[in-house]
């Protein structure tokens, strides 16, 4: 069954012209951010110049961390049910298999390394969830101007009925690579533009290829270039052909040009062409993502090549990082300095994505004959020599950002050997509830500050933490969750300890001794903006050595 594009109604010009949060852009990132905020009780209005979801499959590889974020937002299972799960990839040089990899070579995780799914499915589910959560969706309301002040932002909007002004306390710019918000503020990018053109062809066909990522360098059916094959839902396959810098985009997207390329690859197998796009790409970002009360996320803030699936996944992690901070601020619990930590955390994450994306692109599209000779020699050697496989780069696939330098990490923490580094997102593990029901660790974390205690808490402490807005979860033989498979201990270290997670499930503190006063001070310090606002709270007593 193929996808039917919805047409969303365009509401009349609203009477209420002042709202706390305006999200500009109803794509993957804008919808995710709007949904996350609305689920935390924040009134959100989203405006978008179109009235449907994104056309074409676009971002198709949803990473494990993105799926975990969508699980927190109530959508994760839909991805598993509809999408194509994959963990393995193969790299070919000409016709020879030179390397295989497994992105999740262990069990005991709710979500796989990746689920492939057309972006339009994800957006359609997000629109439904946003509407149910109370997000005001204004389709075909287009931003035309923007006046950002210290105390708010005035947006000029053009709707089918006419033009009007809208006042937002905060504006979240999620309007993609051609961001109108960015245009209005006159902001430029720094980074690299690549000249090579690529052709995406989504084809519907019956095929028994394994559900894996296949990447060819210089294949016989497309000599001198690269090709990527991915499976999506509904028997749709993504084929990505490198075309080189001299390709004419208008000519190359014509069926009479595309179909012979696919025939050369697939032989006589019947297929139907579903979507074609010719693109170039950029690896670049804004200098800062926060500009007073205007905050950029996703492609509006940073852009990468598609090799590594870092665009959409990076944008969803932006939303995950920003939503709890802005919600806390609007509830009056946090300082606006907390929003500056969005830059401090997501700019390094964007730089990591840009670095890997640029390296992949340089390998896939070598500049000059000498680089091509080195690239091809690397591929030849990789078939026989493991050292060379480390250098083969068909895309370093998206991994969650580990916020090791985050200003919200507690300098007084004392993680033990085997404990994930501060700033890492929580690692999932299967656990057993007292009822005998099997649960996932990430289900226990959800959307608030959480203390995971490996062992019992002193009498009355759970309630005391709860009054301070910290949920306590105990894991162990006497705890509410048992680690029967031993995977929690394996992933967090076999030390009785206390792990303090932020609402976005990133680790902010790890301790071998329970100290409620410190945890409460830590939460206050984080909400004030962490190290950007004040030195970290000191601990009352020395840690017990593990």
């Amino acid at each position: 069954m193929s996808f039917t594009y919805p047409r969303y109604p365009s509401p009349p010009i609203p009477d209420r012209r002042a709202v706390p949060v305006v999200v500009v852009g109803g794509g993957l990132v804008g919808l995710t951010l709007a949904l996350d905020l609305a689920r935390q009780g924040v009134p959100v209005r989203l405006i978008d110049d179109d009235d449907t979801v994104s056309v074409g499959s676009r971002a198709i590889c949803f990473s494990k961390r993105t799926l975990e974020i969508y699980d927190r937002l109530g959508l994760g299972e839909k991805f598993l049910e509809k999408g194509i799960t994959w963990n393995r990839g193969k790299v070919f040089f000409r016709k020879q298999l030179i390397y295989e990899f497994d992105l999740l070579p262990e069990s005991g995780h709710h979500y796989p390394a990746f689920v492939n799914l057309q972006q339009y499915y994800a957006e359609a589910w997000l629109v439904e969830a946003c509407a149910a959560a109370g997000v005001e969706l204004y389709w075909r309301h287009r931003l035309t101007g923007l006046d950002a002040r210290e105390d708010g932002v005035r947006l000029s909007v053009s709707a089918p009925e006419g033009d009007y002004d809208l006042e937002g306390e905060w504006v979240l710019a999620c309007d993609g690579a051609r961001s109108q918000v960015r245009e209005c503020l006159g902001l430029g990018f720094t980074g690299k533009v690549f000249n090579d053109r690529f052709l995406i062809a989504d084809v519907e066909m019956e095929a028994d290829f394994p559900t894996e990522r296949w990447f060819w360098f210089d294949p016989p059916f497309h000599p001198g270039q690269s090709v990527l094959l991915h499976r999506q839902a509904d028997n749709v396959w993504r084929i990505d052909f490198q075309l080189g810098p001299d390709a004419d985009p208008e000519e190359e997207r014509k069926p009479e040009r595309v179909i012979p390329r696919i025939r050369a690859m697939l032989g006589a197998r019947p297929f139907r062409l579903e979507w074609v796009s010719v693109y170039t790409f950029r690896c670049r970002r804004l200098e800062r993502f926060r500009h007073g009360r205007v905050i950029f996320a996703g492609d509006a803030a940073h852009q990468v090549s598609p090799f590594g699936a870092r665009g959409g996944n990076g944008g969803v992690q932006d939303a995950d990082n920003l939503a709890w901070k802005l919600a806390a601020l609007l509830r009056g619990e946090a300082s606006s300095t907390l929003l500056d930590t969005y830059d401090a955390e997501r700019i390094p994450a964007a730089d990591e994505n840009i670095l890997h994306s640029t390296r992949s692109t340089d390998f896939i599209s070598p500049k000059g004959e000498a680089m091509r000779a080195f690239r091809d020699a690397t591929l030849l050697l990789a078939a026989r020599h493991p050292f060379a496989r480390r250098l083969v780069n068909s895309g370093r696939l998206s991994t969650p950002a580990i916020l090791e330098e985050s200003p919200l990490n507690d300098p007084a923490a004392s993680p033990w050997p085997g404990c994930p580094p501060l700033g890492a997102p929580a690692i999932d593990a299967p656990l057993t509830a007292r009822s005998g029901q099997r649960v996932w660790l990430l289900d226990a974390l959800q959307s608030g500050f959480t203390l995971l205690a490996q062992g019992p808490l002193p009498e009355g402490e759970r309630e005391a933490l709860g009054r301070a807005g910290i949920t306590a979860v105990t894991i162990g033989p006497e705890g509410e969750l048992r680690d029967e498979a031993g995977l929690f201990a394996a992933r967090y270290g076999r030390v009785p300890g206390y792990l303090f997670f932020r609402p976005d499930q990133h680790l902010a503190g790890a301790y071998t001794r329970y100290d409620r006063a410190h945890l409460l001070a830590l939460k206050r310090w984080i909400l004030a903006g962490g190290r950007l606002s004040a030195p970290a709270p000191a601990r009352a007593a020395a840690e017990v050595s593990p």
């Binding site: 494990k64 963990n87 000409r94 016709k95 020879q96 990899f101 497994d102 992105l103 999740l104 070579p105 995780h109 390394a113 290829f209 296949w214 016989p220 059916f221 094959l229 050369a264 690859m265 697939l266 032989g267 197998r269 890997h356 390296r359 992949s360 340089d362 390998f363 070598p366 500049k367 000059g368 004959e369 000498a370 680089m371 080195f374 690239r375 020699a377 690397t378 030849l380 050697l381 026989r384 496989r389 480390r390 250098l391 083969v392 780069n393 068909s394 895309g395 370093r396 696939l397 991994t399 969650p400 580990i402 994930p420 890492a424 997102p425 690692i427 999932d428 593990a429 394996a490 992933r491």
Partner: protein
């Protein structure tokens, strides 16, 4: 670290290939050929023995010659 589906063994984790690309970056085609030859000789000189150097030369040659045998089928 376990559980982050992080394969540290591919995609140029140490940035060595990127460094190579950077070193070649602004050289002319002729200079790039000279660079490549100079690099090969420098690395040969780093090997621990004459036997190791000769084995590396043999292996490099055999890898290149083996590529002549890569099949030329036309479908995946």
């Amino acid at each position: 670290m376990t559980g982050l589906r992080f394969d540290d063994h591919f995609a140029d984790p140490d940035g060595l290939f990127a460094a190579l690309a950077g070193a070649l970056g602004d050289l002319s085609a002729e200079e790039q050929r000279q660079f490549t030859a100079a690099l090969a000789l420098l690395l040969l000189n780093q090997l621990p023995s004459r036997e190791a150097a000769l084995a590396a030369l043999d292996e490099a040659r055999s890898v290149v010659l083996a590529a002549r045998e890569i099949p030329k089928e036309t479908s995946p």
